[in-house]
Subunit: 402 residues, 2 copies
């Protein structure tokens, strides 16, 4: 891998790309891979890309793998982009969704774990541990199962039953933690020397973020290299949005796209540390959000690591940060269902944000806006209530539907 | 549509392709579209197909739509084909799965409803009713929502809560029926004149089966036009397997493939009318299976309409019919999870069938075998049990993982 470098995104320190890395040993900053983009520009063309199959792995020259042999795949075709019918979002003409709920395990976490597991297996890692409140654990367990690696998942003991089942049946060794996700993280760190596992925590290693770059790559090609003006992205830990931003930067540096979309993140009013820091013009989140709570559990990250990078992404792209209430999330989940789209609460938050920002004149009528849907609704149907006893019940000889 | 014909698959009677059709008005047989395949061969090439995007709609010339303008889509990229690592299925070297649980609504029913809704909307239908015990209702509701059509779903009152929620939130008008799926079907038929809806029942209209043909088209292209030797397909009503067969026949008639795979259907020991008819060499299922019951509810079809067509597909392809027990289904679901694959019970039945038939020397060691996975496991996690109280619980200061 002579073209690859790894550099701290905070202090600039360089690290060897072929070693197992976590965070910067000098300043604790997040490490990021750097590619020889000029060389990519010289060896790969848009026409050449068009001939490759439409999968997550198409842009292999922009992934940190030594070769395509390293790929651990569960089947990752391009996820669909759907356009809302005109007039279905009042006052806006070009609104799209990208549905990452259609990836393996039903969430965008598959992107990070697909690349993370592929690279770590290549580096000789045999055992990976993750502190997780949910979908990251399931995605790691699934790709770990495919790769034949051992997976250890540490989850707060109130983890939803469905996700617990996924992880267990995918073969992960699951430990419940009588405490928070932070406590789970401490345990993973404490036992690392004894069990010799790699801890794949959000933004504390440079691998997962590389997988999220493919969101940008897919969008660029799906929009015929003229990406949407704005992308609304639900954000908790922020690894996904950093990947999106990094992906678009690489595309523009290569010269395949002319602009990076305005990146707009949405958080929950119950946990909005990034919104607060953005509005107060701070360079990073200074302290944990107190009493964090939201039904969109993926947004429930009180103290995101590498918050400076997320805020940098917003400022560099002339972006924004906004927050929505749980009831707006539920209402948006319903609206999306009525359009045939299965959006989990985090994903639905993007539509709630669109409605809110629209009323603040954030968008031009004709601009193109993409709502990035992080996950499928199927695991989250508990959030939606029905009153079965109020449904009409017909006998076999019913003479009327009333 | 000068190239299209519709013909009864039993008596050969012809019908106009541009009218709304159900079953043969002469003999009650299932109607099937027929294409001018010579013309398709003259106007479309494999190279031309390669340049189109890998979606369900790629083979538009082999769908009964007047134009691509009629397409109602929720995003249907080619579903993944994954190969089992060698030696993971003892004694067989080339076993694959095709994962249709990655389609909209999480099941293969999306294929039939995507084409059914597209064509019926083109024909001017505004209101569609379906008797359903589950996923067909959800798929119709989703595509109906996207198309802006009214959907009426009639479901036995013990329908799973999750599917009921999907249908309601997708905007379907849901009626519970105090009786069986057959009673629901009677109600749909009875109120048809009054409410002027189209009843989209399995094999009682020629539209949905056209959508399932794309399973064959995708497989053919994904296997570089050399389809697998055998395909194992879980079968209840059989619309999917008839579509698979029809699709491969059209491909061989055009000359794009040289063979149709051996079609092997799997049913449940709790409801196996097709297996019984196949083994007894009968031309069709003569009477309903008594006391039908299985956890694989999609296989719980005691008296499939158009069973003569399903049996014809098996005999023409030198196929087979086999049955598996519920406990084998659950065991296979677990085995697939351990490989990172989310298979619903019906889908998992294919692996159970493979294990059973393997022991009967049905397969050559090197032959290629594809397990067709009809749906995603996520809606069916209730089938898998865990004992949460047996999991280790760690305090924040845990000093050991034991």
């Amino acid at each position: 891998m002579p073209d690859l470098q790894v550099q701290c995104s905070r202090c600039g320190e360089e690290f060897p790309p072929d070693k197992v890395l976590t965070v910067c040993t000098k300043c604790g900053g997040a490490l990021l891979f750097r590619y020889d983009l000029q060389r990519v520009a010289n060896t790969v063309s848009k026409d050449g890309l068009k001939k490759r199959s439409d999968s997550f792995w198409k842009f292999i020259e922009l992934l940190p793998l030594s070769s395509a042999q390293s790929i651990v795949s569960l089947g990752e075709p391009y996820t669909p982009v759907l356009r809302f019918p005109q007039s279905s979002i009042e006052g806006l003409e070009n609104v799209y969704v990208k549905d990452d709920g259609r990836l393996p395990t039903g969430t965008f976490k598959a992107r990070g774990m697909a690349v993370g597991v592929s690279k770590l297996k290549e580096l000789g890692i045999r055992r990976i541990a993750v502190p997780s409140a949910g979908n990251a654990g399931a995605a790691l367990a699934a790709y770990g199962a495919r790769a034949g690696l051992e997976v250890y998942a540490f989850m707060p003991k109130d983890v939803p039953q469905a996700i617990l089942k996924e992880c267990i049946y995918l073969g992960a060794k699951v430990y419940l933690v009588n405490g928070s996700i932070n406590d789970a993280g401490e345990i993973v760190k404490k036992f690392e020397p004894k069990y010799d596992w790699f801890s794949i925590s959000t933004n504390k290693q440079p691998y997962r973020v590389e997988g999220y770059k493919a969101i940008a790559f897919e969008i660029a090609e799906q929009f015929n290299w003229n990406p949407p003006d704005s992308i609304i992205f639900p954000t908790g830990g922020g690894e996904g949005v950093i990947g999106l931003w990094k992906g678009f930067k690489e595309l523009t540096d290569i010269g395949w796209t002319k602009k990076t979309p305005r990146i707009i993140i949405v958080q929950s009013t119950g946990c909005a540390p990034l919104v607060k820091a953005f509005i107060n013009n701070e360079p990073e989140v200074k302290e944990p959000w107190q009493k964090a709570h939201t039904i969109a559990t993926g947004l429930n990250v009180p103290f995101p690591y590498a918050s400076y990078l997320i805020l940098r992404a917003l400022r560099e792209t002339n972006g924004k940060a906004t927050e929505v209430k749980d009831e707006e999330v539920i209402s948006s989940m319903k609206t999306l269902f009525r359009k045939g789209i299965y959006a989990c609460p985090e994903a639905a938050a993007t539509l709630a944000a669109l409605e809110k920002l629209k009323n603040q004149d954030t968008f031009d009528r004709g601009e193109s806006i993409l709502l990035y849907l992080t996950g499928n609704a199927t695991k989250y149907l508990d959030v939606l209530k029905i009153r079965k006893e109020q449904l009409p019940v017909l006998g076999p000889n019913a003479s009327s539907l009333d």
